[in-house]
C-alpha cells in the first residue's frame, strides 16, 4: 500500500484483470525532497523574501526556498512536462501545488534560486501570490466540463486575475484577499467563505419535461431536493409541478433530475458575495454575504463583473486597516457604510427571506448615518 514502482511504466498490453483495488494514494514520502524528509516537522521559521519567494529554515539550520507561480488549474500535459523539466533543472525534480492551485518549485540549493526565477520570468510564468496579496482563485468547472454550470468559471478567473495581477506579483494589501468563483449555486468551490467571490445564478424557474421525467427521475428524491418545498407531485402526468412563487431558482432539482433544465442564456447572471473567511485569526470564520445580486453573464471578458469587483476591491484597499480582511473591514465600518463607499445599490434581494432572516435583521438603534 502506498508503494510506487522503482520506475513508472505503461505495459505494452494492459490486462485489466491485473488492476489492484483499494491501494489508496502513493505515500507522500515518495515525493518529498531530501531536505524536507530530513527536517520534517522540524521547521523553525520562514521569511517572505519577495512576493513569489520564501525561505523556510529548519532547527538544523537547513533551508528550503519556495518559488510560487500562478496556474490556471486547467493544465495540458505539455505544460505539466514543462514544469517537470524546470523542476529537474533547478529542484532535483521536486515541486508541489498549493491548495489554491499555485505551483511551488522547491529549491534546496540557494545558488539555483535566482536562475530559476530568471527562467520562469523568461517563460512568462506569473511569479507571486505569497503574503498579504491576492493568491490564485479557487473555482469550479464551468462550461469546460459541467452540466450544471450557469457560467464559465475558468474564464471569470482569468479576467479577475488579469485585472488584479499587480496584487499577485507585487503590490501589498491590508491582508490577503481570497477570491473564489462558483459556476452555480452548488458551490463546488469555497465561495461561501471567501473575501470576494462570484456565484452564477438563475432567475427563472426550471422547465418541466414531463415525458422525460418518468424515465429519468425519482419522485421523492426530486421533491426532497427543493429547499423551499416548491415541488409537488403531479400524479396525472406521472411528473411534478412547481409552485412558481416559492421557487428560488437554485437548480438543486436539476442536479437530481435532468428533466428539469434551468439553464437560460438570457436570464442567468453572476452575483458577488463578500466578507467571508476560513481562518480563525483575530475573528472567527465568517460566511460571505451578498453584495451584488445580479450582473450580466457576459463572456468572454465579463466587463460588468470585473468592474464591480474592482470597485469593491478598491474600496477595501482604501478603507481597511492593516491586517483587516474584507469581512473584518466591513464589520468595523458597518454594512450601511459598505454600501455607501462602494455605491452598490441595496435591493430587495439583500434582505434574507429564507433560513437566516432571524439572525440577519438589525436589532439595535446603532446606525451610522452615511451619505446616500
Amino acid at each position: 500500500m502506498g508503494d510506487i514502482p522503482a520506475k513508472f511504466f505503461i505495459p505494452e498490453v494492459v490486462d485489466v484483470k491485473q488492476r489492484k483495488t483499494d491501494i489508496g494514494p502513493p505515500h507522500y514520502e515518495n515525493f518529498l525532497p531530501p531536505v524536507i524528509k530530513k527536517n520534517y516537522g522540524q521547521w523553525k521559521e520562514h521569511e517572505i523574501l519577495s512576493p513569489g519567494l520564501m525561505v523556510h529554515i529548519a532547527e538544523s539550520g537547513d533551508k528550503i526556498w519556495t518559488v510560487r507561480v500562478a496556474s490556471p488549474r486547467l493544465l495540458s500535459t505539455d505544460t505539466l512536462r514543462e514544469i517537470a523539466d524546470i523542476a529537474d533543472k533547478y529542484c532535483d525534480g521536486y515541486f508541489r501545488f498549493t491548495t489554491r492551485n499555485n505551483i511551488e518549485f522547491l529549491v534546496s540549493d540557494e545558488g539555483k534560486v535566482q536562475p530559476l526565477i530568471d527562467e520562469l520570468k523568461a517563460k512568462k510564468f506569473m511569479i507571486g501570490g505569497i503574503g498579504p496579496r491576492v493568491s490564485n482563485v479557487v473555482h469550479t468547472q464551468g462550461w469546460v466540463h459541467c452540466h450544471g454550470a450557469a457560467t464559465d468559471a475558468s474564464g471569470l478567473v482569468k479576467c479577475i486575475m488579469d485585472e488584479l495581477a499587480d496584487y499577485f506579483t507585487t503590490k501589498e494589501l491590508p491582508n490577503k484577499v481570497r477570491l473564489a468563483v462558483a459556476c452555480c449555486t452548488n458551490m463546488c468551490g469555497a465561495v461561501h467563505c471567501s473575501d470576494i467571490a462570484l456565484v452564477a445564478i438563475h432567475t427563472k424557474v426550471p422547465r418541466i419535461e414531463h415525458e422525460r421525467f418518468k424515465d429519468l427521475c425519482e419522485l421523492p428524491t426530486t421533491i426532497a431536493s427543493c429547499p423551499t418545498a416548491a415541488i409537488l407531485p403531479d400524479p396525472a402526468k406521472k411528473s411534478i409541478k412547481i409552485k412558481e412563487e416559492k421557487c428560488m431558482y437554485c437548480g438543486n432539482c436539476f442536479s437530481v433530475c435532468p428533466a428539469l433544465p434551468i439553464k437560460d442564456a438570457e436570464n442567468d447572471g453572476v452575483a458577488i458575495v463578500v466578507g467571508g473567511k476560513v481562518g480563525n485569526l483575530r475573528t472567527p470564520p465568517k460566511f460571505s454575504k451578498l453584495a451584488v445580486p445580479f450582473l450580466p453573464n457576459n463572456p468572454p471578458r465579463w466587463p460588468e463583473v470585473i468592474k464591480a469587483i474592482r470597485k469593491i476591491f478598491d474600496a477595501y484597499v482604501a478603507g481597511a486597516k492593516k491586517h483587516e480582511r474584507v469581512g473584518e473591514w466591513i464589520d468595523r465600518i458597518g454594512w450601511e457604510k459598505f454600501f455607501a463607499v462602494t455605491g452598490i445599490p441595496f435591493t430587495w434581494q439583500h434582505i434574507d427571506d429564507w433560513t437566516y432572516t432571524f439572525e440577519t435583521l438589525r436589532t439595535t438603534a446603532q446606525i451610522k448615518w452615511v451619505k446616500k
Binding site: H56, T77, L80, T98, A265, L281
Partner: protein, 402 residues
Amino acid sequence: MTKKYETPLLDELEKGPFPSFVTEIKKAAAKNPMAADELGLLERSYRDKITYWKHGGIVGVRGYGGGVIGRYSELADEFPGVAHFHTVRVNQPAGLFYTSEAIRFICDVWDKYGSGLTNFHGSTGDIILLGTVTDNLEPLATVLSLNGFDLGGSGSAMRTPSCCVGPARCEWAMIDTLHITYDLTQEFQDELHRPQYPYKYKIKVVGCPIDCNAAIARADLSIIGTWKGPIAIDQDRVRDYAKKGVDIQEEIVNLCPGKCISWDGNSLTINDEDCRHCFHCIAKLPGALKPTPPFGATILIGSKAPFVIGATLSWVIFPFMEMKPPYQELKDFIRTSNEWWSEYGKNRERIGELILRLGMREFLEVCGLKPLPEMVKEPRRDPFWFWKEGDLEGKPWESWLK
C-alpha cells in the same frame, strides 16, 4: 492533424498576464482530437452563453462506485470527440508534493487514454483527469494501480481526504496533517470507493487555526491543529520586529481577541489563560512567538455549501483531541457517527443536516460524548427544552451548590 476550430471569443482569453486556460486547451487540442473538440464545444458555449454537457450518473470502473464522473456532450454529432468526456479523479499524494517522474507518468498515461487535459487539483483535492471515453476507463485504472495510484471518491461516499502542506514545510503545523490524511485515506478505502453513505462525506486536515485548506468551511469532518501550552516568546526577536517597523501595540496587542497581550516597548507579556488560540500574534511575528505542546486538534463536524438548508460552518465536537498514530479515537468516532448517519440519514442528507434534524444531543449521545461549553457560541436563548428520563438523577445542582 486534429480538427481546428475558429475560436474568436476564447482567443480573447489568451490576452493578459494571468496564464490562460485557453492556451492550455489549445496545446492539448493540437495533438489530441478529444481536446480539439472540447475547444470547439467551449467556444460554442461562449457564443451561446450556455453549457452543453449532459448528466452522467452511471459509468465507472468495475467494483467501484466512485472515482469516475460520467459526462456526455449534448452536441455529440458536431463534436464527436467529446461524445463521451468523463472525468477521472485520482487520489492525490497528501500535501500535493510530486516528482518530475511521477508527473511525467501521469502525462504519459493521460496522453494515451484521455484528452491530455487535467486539473491540478479539483476542489476536493484529487488530481482531475478531464475527458476520456468509457472503454478507456478500465485500462487507465489498471495502469494507474500498477504504478501505485488509485482513484479518489465521488458520489454518496467518503471523499478523498486532503490537507495543508503541514509539517512537510510549515513551522506552524501542530499535527502531522500529511500522515493523518494518508492514514485515514488508507483506513477508509472501502467507504471511499463503494458509496454506502446517505451522501458525500469530506475530511480536511489542517495544521493550525489559519486553515489553509478551508477545513472549517468545506469538510463534513474538519480537523484543525491547535495547542494547549503557553505561547513561547523570544523577546529579542519581538524587539527586532519592532525595530523593523511592526507596530506591536497596534498590530499585535490591539488585535488580540482575548485582550491578553501587553507590550511596554521592550518586552511582550501574554496572559495565556485568556488566550483564545486564534493564532494572529504567532502568524504575524514568525520566529518570535511559538505555540508549545501539548499539541492536538480541534475536531469539528458538519460544514457544507448551501444545499439544501443553507451553508454551514463546522461545529466543535472535540475541543481537543490528541493526534497520535493510529488515531484510534478519531477513527472510532468516524465509524460510530457514520453508522448513525447511514442508519437514519435520508438520501442526499449530509451528516450536519441530520444532526440539525435529529438534534445535537442525540448525535453526542450516540458518540458517547458529554455536553461542553466549548461546543457552543452561547447557550440556548429560549425556555423550551427536552428532558430525558434520568437527567435530574443525582440532583446535578447539589454538588455545584455545596
